[in-house]
Amino acid sequence: MNPFQLASPTWMISPIILPLIAGLLCFLLNRRTFAIALAAAVANLLAVCFLTYQLLLFGPMRCHMGGWQPPLGITLRSDGPAVLMLLMTAVTGLAITVYARGYFSHRILNLRQATQHQEQQRYFWPLWMLLLAGLNGLFLSNDIFNLYVTLEIIAIAAASLAALSGKPASQLASFRYLLVSLLGSLTYLLGVVFLYRSCGILDLDILQHHVANGPGIRAALALMSIGLLLKTALVPLHFWLPPTHANALAPVSVILSGLVVKGSFYLLFRLWFEIFTQLITPSALNFMGTLGAVAILWGAVQAMRQHRLKLMVAYSTVSQLGYLFIAFPLSRIDESIQVWSIVIFMALGHACAKSALFMVAGAVFLHLGHDRIKDLNGVRASLPIPVFAYGIAGVSLMGLPPSAGFIGKWLLLTSSLTSSQWWWALVIITGSLLAMIYVFRVMSRFFVIPEDYSVTTSAPLSPLLEWPALIMALISLFLGLAASWPMKILATGNTALTQVFPGGLP
């Protein structure tokens, strides 16, 4: 088949190849790095849009790399959830690219250590492109070992990015982050080995039909899950997340919090609800749900107690990740598509809102030179756009309508009540109230009109620092109104939902 045909699955490699090439070019040329990265981010978005279009037109597709058929060859697969995660990554990625440009330019202009900041920028672009390629690879891979490789690529790139800031605290945090990621990957790999021993297959599609209940496979599932949970930072394995996310440079925090944790979660979720469905017992689901509930409450309480804005936002990530896990026990009654839609909406909403929040935190930090919550008085007057973005993103985190978070929470609540597990509903609602408290604790500071109106005014922020945050926040808000589109993409090729939402082109 002609690889450039409209229906050709070969297009699937473009979201992996494009950032990879861009990363290499950034590293080798070392000139015009931003232009290359921006071009790659835009091209990536276009490629993903094309994949979405393809998916709507032809349904899910598989691409056999190098023409090798499974079980020996590696396949890529594009289906509803994968394409949605790709879209999320591409949109957030574009915003991050623009924001990072503004961030580095501002720092190079305004501070004395210009060379150090130039150095940081030099390494940022290739690493970020590598990370983007890894994430896209993770969402597309259909081979359980290939997934391990993408996990490692992400871990390497993410840890290096986290170490960029050069501050001692961030060095230590990123070293710890690297070790934790390695531990997670190795545990996952051990699980892969166990799985291969029992089934002799790596391809997820074939595996799906070969999974039989047995001690080897159960051990494999347990190991893989533990490894991925560690990477996803589910309480009590979250200890590494707040220091890493809070001490990194602002664009890096956005990447780590908005995208990277979603990658391992996506894989975990796919394993549980597509591959190992037969093995999953109600008690296992309840266990995950309980951890999720603890995460929601614990993360929110910790977020309320923080004195620094970035730490607050980082703990809020811990809390928000809990919602993804509360969807697990609710899958018992409903169709898996229902759970997918919950998880997708929570993940999309969180990715957009959290990126906006970290972007705002970065902008505030550049503006004031600190991010102590009690000294944020009166920022509204000098940074109206970021403050507005903060408010909107906060609304999405709290799950107020019409945000994507609201759709996710609505689905969660509906599932928990229809399956008569009302206690999850209580946790969800308490969680959003706690989110209200930590979001508005900062918000009210922004609104204080300081008595001595002499805020140390640094140079005005570039619009590149302000607008990406606002746009991401607005996307998270209005995603709820456009909720039928993600639903349609999600349902394509999935018979369970096609009756409700007729697939095909809009």
């Binding site: 020996l72 070992f145 490789v149 490692e152 871990a155 390497i156 840890a159 290096s160 170490a163 050069g166 501050k167 001692p168 060095q171 230590l172 990123s174 070293f175 690297l178 070790l179 390695l182 531990l183 190795l186 790999l189 051990l190 892969v192 080995v193 291969y196 021993r197 002799g200 790596l202 030179g369």
Partner: protein
């Protein structure tokens, strides 16, 4: 069969030893070594999986490919970890110097 089991058990043991060391010791270098031992354990199990008893006679090539990939990944990750460990040591020393300097020049304290 026995051979496979033996190698696999050794691999598991290595993994467990590595894990233990990773949690117990605080020195960065020891931690990196621990992770290396763990990955060696996993590779050993993989290689053992590739072995098939006599009547079939073949050797499964897939785990070999996996081990090769794994080793490459492991080497690069170790390099990165070592670099980071060095930076941690350096910056913590630098930080000490910096703090001494700042103690002498108080107006420099604004970062």
């Amino acid at each position: 069969m026995i051979t496979t089991l033996l190698y696999s058990m050794t691999g598991l043991l290595l993994f467990a030893m590595g894990l233990f060391t990773l949690f117990i010791h605080s020195h960065p270098l020891r931690k990196i070594l621990a992770v290396n031992v763990m990955s060696t354990g996993v590779f050993l199990i993989m290689v053992a999986t590739a072995y098939k008893p006599m009547p079939l006679g073949n050797i499964d090539p897939v785990p070999h490919a996996m081990v090769l990939t794994g080793i490459v990944v492991s080497v690069s990750v170790t390099a990165l970890a070592l670099l980071l460990a060095c930076r941690v040591q350096e910056t913590s020393n630098l930080d000490l110097l910096e703090r001494k300097k700042q103690a002498r020049i108080p107006e420099e304290s604004r970062r």
